[in-house]
Symmetry: C2
Subunit: 362 residues, 2 copies
């Protein structure tokens, strides 16, 4: 049997509820294809802070770097720690996530937006708008406004407090994530839409320039540019126009959550953080969701779809990926739904039960 | 008769088509209430650049400062100038808009999101989601990422090109726009939702701190904080939860376009830029829209609703404002629609004809 080691970081809130579902799906689907997984469960985020005093302990880093892929559940506030405002920045749960992304050197966050036909009625958007939507958001993940320096707090010439951050991109930062977008478009419908705010931001002007230069290497790919405000509307007005949507860290953070609503919500959205030299990172898009934590109502499908991405993009084990994908499909066909994706006539079940049904389908 | 001087800046693209409709509505409704308007038409944006070599000429500044209110149509690319990428930043059309906002000292952009019952079917969102939505987005307009310094282009230690901008807020910048939000909430349903990314951005942490401090002066107002990515989803999932949504310049730019989709699109959205010491600025949210420019199909309702805001917030002439509002309502009741807001059984008309129908209703 082939063997893989997966670092599993359940993290906070519903992360600890959905992760076991993904792990069991991986274990079972793997065994059916002659693959053994060794899962190393490690701490991250608020859970790590509580146990060790820091949100990203050394042991978590070490186990992650030694793994074949890293699976992360969620980090963020929880019922027990409903705010982290009182903590200095370097101890807050989110820092655990930002640090592991940095440590693995991943720089492209892939968020596929696809609509399950069974869930067409679960979206706020009309069926005519969401039907057949299928695109990939590629968010730059290692630079821009969320990491740029200088950043911090200061006092201005009037003696007032200030808070400041820097949005900065360099050519190579744009190029490496741009290449992932163009390569992906070549395997899809051949279109890249690059989203920026080049009319106002210098960082966006560099972004647009580099993406345009790169497009010359890909004559088969049709490149367009869209302003971020326009794209926020177009995602809702006519999402079928998109194939690969490439954008910056901060814009991608916002736009991928807009796009989530096409699919019936973040309970359905997986993501992959790729591009680093070593193991890649896989995480559902939803956060810790303290409002529903501990009630066994979280939707584990994002987590299981994240396991699919881990197999597909991390380990290149397409056969196992397909198995799990089919099991999700079957479970939805049988009418099982968590309460965030209600559709007429559905059987509403909890997180655990949904997981059991997926294992049954497998 | 009372007299007001209005600086009218039609600008670019469909700005030149919708502005006359708003001007005629103001003229007629004013005359019915014993008010005379003097309209001073001035150049801005690409139109100004073509005629004078700069996007914001001195005369436009002068006429604007001497007026009782400034009405702006749209600035941006057009069929004639389909890209401004070749121009240095200070000559691009958008700079005309950013300069006039600065020159007037306006710092709060008010974007009311209300749904006309006649247009419920025109949205991508389901009727059950959009019905009875009524909130106000208050976008900080004079600071943050779109104005912060340092900004520009550079070379990093690896010899690569970089582009960078600064997101910076000071206490007083947050306080002045915050006050507008809290005051507005007092006249509405008493809720402020402040949107930031305090988990990652120092500028957002200062923002959150100042808004929280200010809330102590308004014990009747219920303040909540929401992360920008979450808010992008919540605007689509359950927009009825919002009353006053207060946010930064860049987040407001994106979120107000998300919110636009609730109402049936930006063809319906007015905005007011207020807070300055002198005349205030009023502009529809849509841009120059080169794709439909010159075809007499633009929706003039955003422009006419902007005239309503000019009367209501700029001149405090509520009676005239109400007259125009009622005329819009009647015109929609008679079934007239532009093609961007089709509803079953509607009479689809062009921009001019829509304007004539509004004048008739007046
Ligand atoms: C928790 C936060 C740092 C993170 C981000 O914005 O990157 C999250 O919102 C996400 O989208 O994965
Ligand atoms: C043209 C541009 C500078 C402007 C902005 O972002 O402020 C526009 O997008 C708007 O929303 O009014």
């Amino acid at each position: 049997n082939k063997k893989y080691t997966i670092a599993v970081l359940p993290g906070d809130g519903i992360g600890t509820e959905v992760t076991p579902v993904a792990v069991e799906a991986l274990r079972l689907a793997g065994s059916l294809e002659g693959i053994d997984f060794e899962f190393k469960e490690m701490l991250v985020g608020g859970a790590a802070y509580e146990a060790t005093g820091v949100p990203f302990p050394e042991e978590t880093l070490k186990a992650s770097l030694e793994s074949d892929a890293v699976y992360l559940g969620a980090v963020g506030i929880t019922k027990k720690m409903p705010s982290s405002d009182h903590l200095p920045k370097h101890l807050r749960p989110e820092v655990g996530l930002m640090r592991i992304r940095r440590a693995l050197g991943v720089y492209a966050n892939l968020r596929p937006i696809t609509v399950f036909p069974q869930l067409l009625e679960a979206s706020s958007l009309k069926r005519s708008v969401t039907e057949e939507v299928d695109f990939m958001i590629i968010r730059e993940l290692a630079g821009g406004l969320y990491y740029g320096k200088p950043r911090g707090f200061g006092i201005n010439e009037k003696g007032e407090e200030t808070g400041f951050c820097t949005e900065i991109y360099s050519s190579s930062e744009v190029d490496r994530v741009g290449r992932i977008a163009f390569d992906m478009a070549m395997e899809r419908r051949g279109k890249v839409c690059s989203v920026d705010k080049a009319t106002v931001l210098e960082s966006s002007r560099l972004w647009r320039k580099r993406v345009t230069i790169m497009s010359e290497e890909y004559p088969e790919v049709d490149l367009s540019h869209m302003l971020v405000d326009t794209s926020a509307m177009e995602l809702i007005r006519y999402p079928k126009q998109f194939d690969v949507l490439l954008t910056t860290n901060v814009f991608g953070d916002i736009l991928s959550d807009v796009a989530a609503m096409i699919t019936g919500g973040i309970g359905m959205l997986p993501s992959a953080c790729i591009g680093g030299p070593g193991p890649q990172l896989f995480e559902p898009v939803h956060g810790s969701a303290p409002d529903i934590e501990g009630e066994d109502v979280a939707n584990p499908l994002a987590a299981v779809l994240t396991a699919v991405m881990l197999l597909r993009y991390g380990l290149k084990e397409e056969a196992v990926a397909k198995r799990i994908e089919n099991a999700i499909f079957d479970t939805l066909n049988e009418g099982f739904r968590t309460r965030d994706i209600p559709t007429p006539g559905a059987k509403i079940v909890g997180c655990k039960k949904m997981g059991e049904e997926i294992l049954k389908s497998l």
